[in-house]
């Protein structure tokens, strides 16, 4: 069992692991994002139609990717909480929610900034945009649970429930708005099964950016989870002392 992931369900082991690997992760994510964004912003050609606005893609695509994957991560942690009641997993979900919310917001804002000169409006009720807005709403409701429920045990139970139900309904909404048939947003930028990806000049810096964003997300979640663990310990000590 010593190599199993469940070892880190122990708060002590978890904190030690976080302390040892976060410096490396900070440096790595910083390097990847600096290289990706620097390369993307200054050393790629302007698009012949879009001009330099095309470079928003280096922030937009990674943050949109992370917004969805963050929710997936929260879903998995919530499931682990419901099934095995490991505190670290639900604290990780709690810690990830504001990060995911920020990524969703960033994707929406950068999309709007790109859409204003390209489509002529900041916002369109296009399936992709709408489903992202719905995801944004679900993130906010998840946050509200932690904000308003005082008992932490109940908040953990209810928030994981809301995460589960929210995933189903977010997915359902995503396919429901597809029926509007108003695709303004282009198809997937990166895909494994298609020949036509974006041009190589944009492709490689984009990969750097995505790796950087993933590493940044992991780092932030680990650090924030450790803060939550410490927070829990402090409140436990205070409870014991007041007794």
């Amino acid at each position: 069992m010593s190599t199993s992931i469940w070892k880190f369900a122990n708060p002590h082991h978890f904190s030690q692991m976080v302390e040892s690997i976060t410096p490396v992760l900070w440096v790595l994510s910083g390097c990847f994002i600096t290289i990706g964004l620097g390369w993307g912003f200054f050393f790629t050609p302007d698009d012949y139609l879009q001009g330099s606005t095309v470079k928003i893609i280096f922030v937009h695509v990674p943050s949109a990717l992370m917004a969805i994957n963050c929710w997936l991560m929260m879903l998995v942690s919530s499931l682990i909480w419901i099934i095995r009641k490991h505190h670290i997993s639900i604290l990780a979900a709690k810690a990830a929610a504001p990060i995911g919310l920020s990524f969703t917001f960033l994707a929406l804002i950068t999309g709007g900034l790109w859409g204003q000169p390209m489509w002529g409006s900041f916002w369109a009720w296009d399936p992709r945009l709408t489903s992202f807005l719905i995801l944004f709403l679900h993130y906010i409701t998840y946050q509200l649970i932690w904000l308003y429920l005082i008992n932490r045990q109940s908040a953990a139970n209810i928030s994981s429930l809301v995460c589960l139900v929210g995933s189903v309904f977010a997915l359902l909404s995503r396919y429901a708005v597809n029926f509007w048939n108003q695709g303004l947003h282009q198809g997937a930028t990166l895909s494994l099964d298609q020949e036509t990806n974006i041009h190589d000049a944009f492709y490689y810096p984009l990969i750097f950016c995505i790796i950087g964003f993933v590493l940044l997300f992991i780092t932030l979640v680990l650090v924030r989870t450790k803060t939550e663990v410490t927070h829990n310990q402090i409140s436990l000590y205070e409870k014991l002392r007041s007794k």
Partner: protein, 219 residues
């Protein structure tokens, strides 16, 4: 279980607040939106199904804290949790009561309010039927909101805000079915998807709501 349904229905109809508040809210929404838009009849007709559906959603999610709140306060919930009756059945009874005392009444009121929006009678009836099909899903979501709301003693807006994003698919399929009917398109797929959501939520949500109630009893 039928005793529970009868008890809650009786309480709702005697007190009146359980049935009159959603109906009044519905009427107010349907009156306020056209006033905000202005007296342009053509605009009203185009968005009438949307107004009616949104009105139903908001009126159903109005006083969710009264679903489980009284039972929790006077200890009924604990008695039921320790009795032989499964908590899921109790929750199911609550869903049925909410649907009968708000959803059905709102659906009955729909064609009449449709007249205010210049909606043809036939279309108003179709809208009413689609609300009748979709409101069980809304009622179960409302009960989930009620189950979440019992933790929150600050105010009763939280539970509504939490369940409102879940009602988006119901809203999409509900309005889409009415619009497809009025355009003469195939409306059956939308109706089927709407009823699918209703049936699935009725089957699954009572377990989730009982999970909420068990958590609050363990507090």
């Amino acid at each position: 279980m039928f005793v529970l349904i009868a008890r809650d229905l009786k309480a709702n109809f005697r007190l009146g607040s359980g049935i009159w508040l959603p109906l009044t809210m519905f009427l107010t929404i349907v009156v306020l939106i056209p006033i905000g838009i202005g007296p342009d009849i053509d605009v009203h007709m185009g968005i009438a199904p949307a107004i009616l559906w949104i009105g139903v959603v908001f009126s159903l999610f109005l006083n969710l804290d009264r679903i489980f709140g009284p039972d929790l306060e006077d200890g009924t919930l604990e008695r039921i949790a320790t009795s032989e009756l499964p908590l899921e059945k109790y929750v199911w009874a609550k869903v049925i009561v909410l649907w009968l005392s708000s959803g059905v009444l709102l659906a009955i009121l729909t064609p009449f309010l449709g007249l205010l929006l210049n909606l043809p009678t036939r279309l108003g009836l179709v809208c009413s039927i689609s609300i009748l099909i979709g409101s069980p899903a809304l009622a179960t979501m409302g009960c989930l909101g009620g189950g979440i709301g019992v933790f929150n003693r600050h105010g009763n807006l939280l539970q509504a805000v939490i369940v409102l994003p879940m009602s988006i698919p119901v809203l999409i399929f509900g309005t889409k079915s009415v619009i497809a009917y009025s355009n003469g398109d195939a409306y059956l797929p939308w109706v089927l998807q709407l009823s699918g959501i209703s049936l699935a939520t009725i089957a699954i949500f009572p377990f989730l709501i009982s999970y909420c109630l068990r958590t609050v009893l363990a507090e």
